[in-house]
Amino acid sequence: MATLPDGTPLRGKLFIVEGIDGSGKSTQLDLLHKWLLSRGYLVAFTEWNSSPVVRQTTKRGKDRRLLSPASFCLLHAADLGDRIEHQILPALQAGAIVLADRYIYTAFARDVARGVNREWVRAVYRFAVRPTAAFYFRVPLEESLQRIVGGRPELKYYEAGLDLGLSGDPYQSFRLFQGLILEEYDRLVEEFGLMVIDATLPLVQQQAQVRKLVQSHVKGAQKVDHRPWRAVLAKEGLYGRYLDEFQTGGEEE
């Protein structure tokens, strides 16, 4: 059950995936998304830092390196605030299953690693809907460094934590910053009861664990017919050629 901050239950379910870059959480969420759709559920997806109202400002802040730990924190909170008000909460009220790629725990881990006060960042995010369940894809530091640095040789300024002045070398800085983030995540597992998934296991095994837990929570979630024209195709012997076009055009987000 997802609830409002004051404990009021919401009809829908909110599931979160968390973990550092390269932990494979987005892949797992995508697999979960497709599975829930195939089971006929009404599903909404949202990801970190994607509010149409706030995103441009965040981009400006990153491009021009204007962000401080405090403004970085508040801006990301504004982004989630907008998505909760316009996207997440209405979907939950409609009984949907909402899947979020990163949530408040990302802020709690990153902002505190940036030197923001632990209590303050929790107060800032007091407005956030309490999720049904949150998965933390845990991956050891060395493994994660290999995954990220291996796949993407160019590290970005804030991503590498260069704003912290931990080290002038982007890779060294990134290593130290990621280490701090992992420490915070471990603290969050305790504090918020995050469901830990060993992200070094085979993908299929991880997904099985995720589905098992999700399944125990989704009873009563809103269902919807994702292919309401199916009967027409069968009855009239149609192929649905133009529907495919229409669908791929409409699924863009």
């Binding site: 109202v53 706030v54 400006r60 006060n117 007091r126």
Partner: protein
């Protein structure tokens, strides 16, 4: 010297306990005359040998334009708006206000966290939440509150830019009568300011009077605050109302 004291948790990385400048806030509702008075005060301070600068809501390099755009589209909910303004404030505090205080400036700010708090409270936002968020604000040396009655605001609004969508609470009040909503909204805002005046120790000035009378009161209040700056500003004697002496003898 401004004692660096925050209402809550201080800004990450802010180590100084004292800053040589002075932070002076000018608060008041829509059309209370803040801009006019700040323009006069700034010039008066500079004429008397103080380095002065000013800032105001939505003027941050980071979030100013983003907020303007979002307001134009009327697309912000309460949570988003408060956090967006808090971002703007954090950026100005860190990039404009604190560096200026560090350099010994008198910083005049057109509104501060109190306007943000009144606006949030009138919209039913959790009063503790908004205070917690803005807790990193530095406690100013002086908070000048331009206290004005509703019946004096209305003619000024009509005479200037007209009724503003947000200053009329159109984003959350029922009905589309902007005059009616403006009256309701501003009444609520003025009541909130009254409550905050006590909580945060405002120096209230009767702003129902003419510009010269208000200015005189504000100037006198500022004088008591900047009086101890002479040594730090490199001035040896009281600079107030001193006529410029001819340089050549």
């Amino acid at each position: 010297m401004t004692r660096v004291l925050s209402y809550g948790h201080s800004l990450p990385g802010l180590k100084e306990k004292k800053l040589p400048g002075k932070l002076i806030v000018v608060e008041g509702t829509d059309t209370a005359g803040r801009s006019t008075q700040i323009a006069l005060l700034r010039e008066w301070l500079e004429t008397n040998g103080y380095a002065a600068t000013e800032t105001g809501l939505r003027r941050s390099e980071l979030a100013g334009t983003g907020i303007q755009k979002a307001k134009r589209g009327h697309t912000m909910g309460d949570v988003t708006m408060n956090l967006f303004y808090a971002t703007d404030f954090a950026d100005r505090l860190e990039k404009q206000i604190i560096p200026a205080l560090r350099a010994g400036f008198v910083v005049l700010t057109d509104r501060y966290i109190y306007s943000m708090i009144t606006r949030a409270q009138v919209r039913g936002v959790d009063p503790q939440w908004i205070r917690d968020i803005l807790g990193f604000a530095i406690v100013p040396d002086l908070i000048l509150y331009l206290k004005v009655d509703l019946e004096n605001i209305i003619p000024r609004v009509v005479n200037s830019a007209g009724f503003d969508y947000w200053e009329s609470g159109m984003d959350f009040l029922k009905g589309d009568d902007i005059y009616e909503n403006y009256v309701r909204y501003q009444t609520a805002i003025l009541n909130q300011f009254e409550a905050l005046a006590e909580e945060y120790h405002f120096h209230s000035v009767d702003a129902n009077r003419g510009v010269p009378e208000i200015f005189a009161d504000l100037r006198d209040a500022i004088q008591t605050v900047v009086g101890d700056m002479h040594g730090h500003a490199g001035l040896s004697e009281a600079p107030v109302r001193r006529k410029a002496k001819p340089v050549l003898k």
